[in-house]
Structures are given as C-alpha cells and as structure tokens.
C-alpha cells in the first residue's frame, strides 16, 4: 500500500505554550473523547506550560468528574487537587449548569422583578432546561463570560472548552443561532397576534390559515401554554437584542486568532465523516481549525507479524471451536499461544481498517494537522490517565 500521506504534525505543545492563544475548543461527534481531550490538554497546559487554565466540561463521565473534584454542578471554577503545576500554572475545572447560566443571562439583561417573572414562567422553565440547542447556547455564553476579563486584569490565561454531547459536531456552531432565531421568530409573533389581512391575497390567505391554525393550536396546545409563551415573549422582548448581540460577540471571539479549534474523532466511519463536515464548516466560517485529534487509535506491538501468518499459526496450534480442551500441560500452553495469535490477527485487521478510515480524512483534508492518541485498555478517569493522554497528544 502506498503510504505517502504524511500530513503536517499537530504540535499541541506549541499551541499550549503560545500565550497568544487563549481559547481551545474541543469539538466532535458524540462519545469520541471531547471531554477527555479537553481535560488532558488543560492539565498539560497547567503542569507543563505554566498557564492559568480553566477547563469548562460538559456532562463529564462520573468518575472523571470526581477526579477533577467536580462534585457540584454550580457553575463555579474550582481548583483541581493533585496538579503538579509548573511556574504560575494552575488548573481550575467547572461543569456547565445550563439552567443557571440561562438565568444569569436573563438577570444581566433585565430588572430583577422582570427576571423573577421570567423565571416563574412555565414555558421559560421548560425551555431553559430541556430545549434542544440550549446547552450549546449556554456553553458559548459561559465561554464568553470566562473570556470577558482580560488576562492583564486577572482573567484566565487559557480556557479549554469541551462541547455538549451531540450527534453532530456542527451543533455547537449552529444551535445557538437556531435558538436565537427561534426567540426572534416572526412565527412566534404572528401566532400570538394573528396578522390582519393585508392588501395582497397571499397575505390574506396567510392570515386566514394562521387563524384556522391558531384556533386549532389553541384547542390542541391549550390556552394556558399559549398564554405562557405569549407572556414569556412579551417579557423577553426587551432583552432580545442583548441576546442576539451576545451570540454574535461570542461568534467573533471564536473567529479570532486567540482561538484554536480542535476536532476530535475516533478512527470510525461516522466520527470521521463528522470531523470532515466540521473542518469544512470551520473554514467557511473563517474559524481557525488547529487540527484533528485522532483518538483511540489501536496500535501493534509486533507490526511485522501479518494477520494471515498469525491466524495460520493459531490454526496450526489447533485453535478454533474450543477444540483441544483438556489434555496435558503442553496443549494448554499451545492453546494459550493460539489465542494470543488470534488476538494479534484481529488487531492487525482492526489497525488496517482504522488506517484506511483515517487516510480518507487525510486525503480530503491534506492541510489539517493530525495528532494520534492510542486507545487505552481501560477508561480514562484520573489525573494519571489524563497525563498519559496529554503525553500522547503532544508526542
């Protein structure tokens, strides 16, 4: 097989050492290792590069959260114990609480009485905790808050951001706009105050449909919900401008030189396809993609022994179908060796498959630097494990 795909190496240590970079965002499809990568990079930045770092995690696995000292969902960065920081290095960690973040935004944009009114609205309560897209919006919002204070004024020197578990990496970029579009939607207004028939017949028809629709909706959804929505819209209206503006500002922060995006993927078809979409989208948005983290890559300790020879050897030793059970010491030893060989044969095939999939990405994105992280035999859930990942990331 021709192996002429030598993509640029992703130099993560250079990124972490670069004081011009203040924000690192880890994106990717669901379950690929975004949270793990974010935590490992933040730890390395504090321990090796002397950076005052905060890592914003979202729904970390329980045991990882425990080792980062994240026992409470309180939106406050807390120092992580057990960090062997260098120089001024520090590591704080926090877990995103999306409801609380939403509440904070409301509070900063409106008078306290009005805010209480909004908080009490059942539609707001449902929206701030379960709406699709709210988590992404609030992650952006939190990032924007964390980066608002300049380093010179005691702000964070490096902010590493994990992104919400979602099927598509693009959701992180799209969901906030979708939410703010919804909040500003014409439909919302039209439904609540059906249009008067205008001069144009189309408009009149629209008005008529909306009235029929409005009636049907009222019957189905009930007057209560519609009135909750309508009160919500009324009280929200004054702060809407503020909302949209904030979303735009964060978007600009993400486009700036101080931000590095990493897309994380496992060497599997679906994850790599997502990574490809994401890379394309970032370049459209003129957001800086620093590189691909190829996580959970399998490797071979004996690369010269092919799958065929290995499986052949296993067969010669009488493997397969559990045959050769019982018997003396010698045959037990032989069947163990056979199992070792079968395992190696499987691993060779898996490594080849992963290589093929990774090469697809490299071919279609030749300019994107790549860093590989080997698959660990066990889950990564403590600082020692994160250090190991950090070492591979920077290797």
């Amino acid at each position: 097989m021709p192996r002429n795909l030598t993509p640029p190496k992703l130099d993560l240590d250079a990124i972490l050492a670069d004081r011009g970079i203040r924000i690192v965002v880890c994106c990717g499809a669901g379950g690929v290792g975004k949270t793990t990568t974010a935590a490992a990079l933040a730890l390395r930045a504090a321990e090796r590069h002397g950076r005052r770092t905060v890592v914003l995690t979202i729904d970390p696995a329980r045991r990882l959260a425990q080792s980062l000292g994240l026992t409470e969902l309180d939106n406050t960065p807390r120092p992580v114990t057990g960090v062997k920081a260098e120089g001024d290095g520090q590591l704080h960690a926090m877990m995103l609480d999306m409801k609380r973040t939403f509440d904070e935004v409301v509070l900063t944009h409106t008078r306290p009485e009005k805010a209480q009114e909004i908080f009490a609205n059942p539609f707001y309560q449902a929206m701030s905790s379960t709406f699709a897209g709210t988590q992404e919006y609030m992650a952006m919002e939190k990032l924007s808050q964390l980066s608002a204070v300049d380093v010179a004024d005691g702000g964070w020197d490096l902010i590493v951001v994990d992104t919400p578990p979602s099927r598509s990496a693009l959701d992180f970029l799209d969901a906030p706009r979708r939410l703010s579009k919804f909040l500003d939607s014409r439909m919302l207004r039209m439904l609540l105050a059906p249009a008067r028939s205008g001069g144009l017949s189309v408009l009149r028809m629209m008005g008529a449909s909306l009235n029929v629709f409005g009636r049907a909706m009222r019957k189905i959804l009930g007057g209560q919900l519609l009135s909750d929505v309508s009160t919500f819209v009324a009280s929200f209206d004054s702060m809407f401008g503020g909302f949209a503006e904030r979303a735009e500002r964060t978007y600009r922060v993400l486009q700036a030189r101080q931000t590095a995006f990493l897309v994380v993927a496992t060497p599997e078809q679906d994850a790599i396809r997502e990574a490809g979409y994401f890379a394309g989208r970032l370049s459209e948005e003129r957001m800086p993609l620093a590189g691909l983290v190829l996580n959970r890559v399998h490797g071979l300790a004996v690369p010269d022994l092919s799958a065929e020879r290995s499986a052949g050897g296993a067969e010669a030793l009488g493997a397969g179908g559990g045959a050769g059970a019982g018997g003396g010491k010698r045959s037990a030893g032989a069947s163990l060796a056979a199992e070792v060989l079968l395992l190696h044969a499987d691993l060779v095939r898996q490594v080849a498959r992963e290589q093929r999939i990774a090469d697809q990405f490299r071919r279609s994105h030749p300019a994107v630097p790549v860093a590989e992280v080997p698959a660990q035999p066990e889950d990564v859930h403590d600082l020692e494990g994160l250090r190991g990942i950090g070492t591979s990331l920077a290797a």
């Binding site: 449909s209 022994l305 395992l343």
Partner: protein
C-alpha cells in the same frame, strides 16, 4: 434453539429499543424486527428521529412517511419500515379533526407546524408515539396487521420523557383529541404489550446510562424488557496466566518467529486485552445487578450490512427472541 424462560417481555408486541447514542439502537432494532418476522410473520420497524437511519442501514433511498417492505427473513415473513415525521403526523391530525384543507400545507411551508412542535415538545412526542400505537393496534378484517412493531427510539437521555406521554402533555389542553390520544398511548406503553430494551456496549458511560435509564423507566412504571450488550468479542485469554517461556514455545511449535521482541510484543498486546476484559467483567457485573435478562450480540468486524443483520437476528433467535 434454546428455550428461554418467558419473562413477560417475550409476549410484548411493541418492542422499544433505546440506548446511549452510537451503541447500536438502529442496528439492534432492525435485527429484532427480522427475528420477530421469521417464520412467515410481519413486523414493522419504525424510526422517529428524522435521521433516515433505517434507509442507511438497509442501503435504500430515504423512506417516505409510508410503510415499505424492506427485508424478508430467510424462512419467510416480511419486515416493513416507516420513518414517522412529527410534522406530517400533526398535519394528518389537524386534517382529521379540523379540516384545514390546503391551509395545512401552507402552514407547513411557513414553519408553523415546526413551531408548534418546538414550543410543545410533548406534542411532538405524543404524535410520534400515537402513530406507533396506531400501527401496533391496527387490524384488517379483524386480524392484526403487524405481529410485532419495533421502535428505534430516542437515546437513553431522552427516553423517559419520550415515553412518559401523559405527563408530557399535562400542560397542554385539558380536553380534546390530544388528551385522549395521550391516555391511549400511555395505557399501551404501561401494559404487558410493551417491552423497552436498552442497548449498551461494555464501556463505562454506556453502562452507566443504561443503569440510570432502567431506574428511570422503572420509576415511571414502564415495562423494561432486556439489556442488550452489543459488540461483544470472544473473551480470548480471560484469566489466563501467560509466560514468556510458554508463549515462546507455542510460537516455535507454530513455526513462527519467537525472538524476544516478538514474544514481549505479543505479551503486551495480550495483557492489554486482559485488562480490557477485566474492566468488561466489572461492567458486566454492574449490569447483572440490574436484574434484567441480558442478551448479547457479537461485534461484526467487517461491519454490519444486510448479511450482518441476519447474523445478529439469528443470535437474538438463539437467545430466545421469537415472534408469536
């Protein structure tokens, strides 16, 4: 074929398949629909998330909002598939009760339908589950149209809310078709006609989510069926004591190189496998504690594909899944 003890879920006609994202919900649901159709039965495989996962799996063009024959088990029978679309379902609904005529289409173009299901996610869910119920109970000349219905459901994080329809629409209109619809759906979902299966793989987070989801489902009185451990591999070298000398002798006997580098390299690969197995064993125990029947499906190294689906369907049949 082994005779598994009937434990309730076997009698279900509606099989709901959930699990953490990416663990194999769509694949397992499809395999189950095949198993339940075998022997000349007819099943319906439904998806509700608008992702066309079924079409991708069977490598056919996107499914319309219409039941289509999609596969045939080797010994006769048929599997049909349906991608339920919440907007279409709402339009169907409005049409039935309010006679919107052409206005309905216009509203759809304006985004009004989407809007309505957005401000009331419970409405979306009750429309989707309502369609599922309709398929489960549909009859033709007093015969059931489908012997079983398999639902490729939302992931564990959302399954409780999705199935808990009455609570979901509690905030909506107190009277009217949606209300009675949700009551009918709730009754079906809480009856022995339904079984909710949770798909997982033997990794930390999926297992944790499985346990949490089962707790939530039990709390809501929804009938939990089985836990389906997907992508299992043969437990090669489980508990084995490996030595350099033993392995080196084995390699020599197989006519393979047995220099030091090869032996230590293979040993380290084997040790990784053993620690993976140890972790899987711990997770497996956590699943056992849940006290639900556990089914296992093998990891298919060459990918799933149609023939892989038949392999998985056979594996389910061997573990006692059968139609009736």
């Amino acid at each position: 074929m082994r005779d598994a003890p009937s434990s309730g879920w076997q009698d279900a006609r509606l099989h709901v398949v959930t699990g953490k994202g990416g663990t194999g919900k769509t694949t397992v649901a499809a395999a189950m629909a095949l198993t339940l159709a075998s022997g000349g039965r007819r099943t319906l495989l439904i998806e509700v998330e608008g992702r066309q996962g079924i079409a991708q799996l069977f490598d056919v063009p996107p499914l319309p909002y219409q039941e289509r024959k999609i596969a045939v088990p080797p010994d006769g029978g048929e599997v049909r598939a349906l991608a339920v679309d919440a907007e279409e379902a709402l339009l169907e609904y409005l049409e039935m009760f309010y006679r919107l005529g052409g206005a309905g289409r216009m509203l759809k173009r304006l985004g009004a339908i989407d809007f309505a299901t957005t401000i009331a996610p419970g409405l979306r869910d009750v429309l989707l589950t309502g369609k599922v119920k309709e398929a489960v109970t549909r009859t033709d000349k007093s015969h059931r149209v489908y012997d079983a219905v398999v639902l490729d459901a939302p992931p564990t994080g959302r399954i409780g809310r999705f199935l808990n329809v009455t609570a979901e629409v509690a905030g909506l209109a107190k009277v009217g078709p949606i209300k009675s619809q949700s009551e009918g759906v709730a009754a079906l979902l809480r009856s022995p006609m339904t079984a909710v299966h949770v798909v997982t793989v033997l990794e930390d987070m999926p297992v944790q989510e499985t346990i949490d989801a089962i707790g939530e489902l039990e709390e809501l009185d929804l009938p939990v069926g089985t836990v389906i451990v997907n992508m299992t591999r043969p437990p090669l070298l489980a508990g084995a004591k490996l030595t350099q000398a033993g392995l080196s002798r084995g390699l020599a006997a197989a006519g393979l190189p047995h220099d030091r580098a090869t032996v230590t390299g293979l040993l380290s690969e084997a040790r990784d496998q053993q620690s993976r197995l140890a972790q899987e064993g711990r997770l497996r125990e956590e699943l056992d504690e849940v006290g639900r029947p556990i089914l296992e499906l093998p990891f298919l190294a060459d990918g799933v594909g149609l023939s892989g689906l038949f392999t998985l369907a056979d594996a389910l049949a061997d573990q006692g899944v059968h139609g009736h």
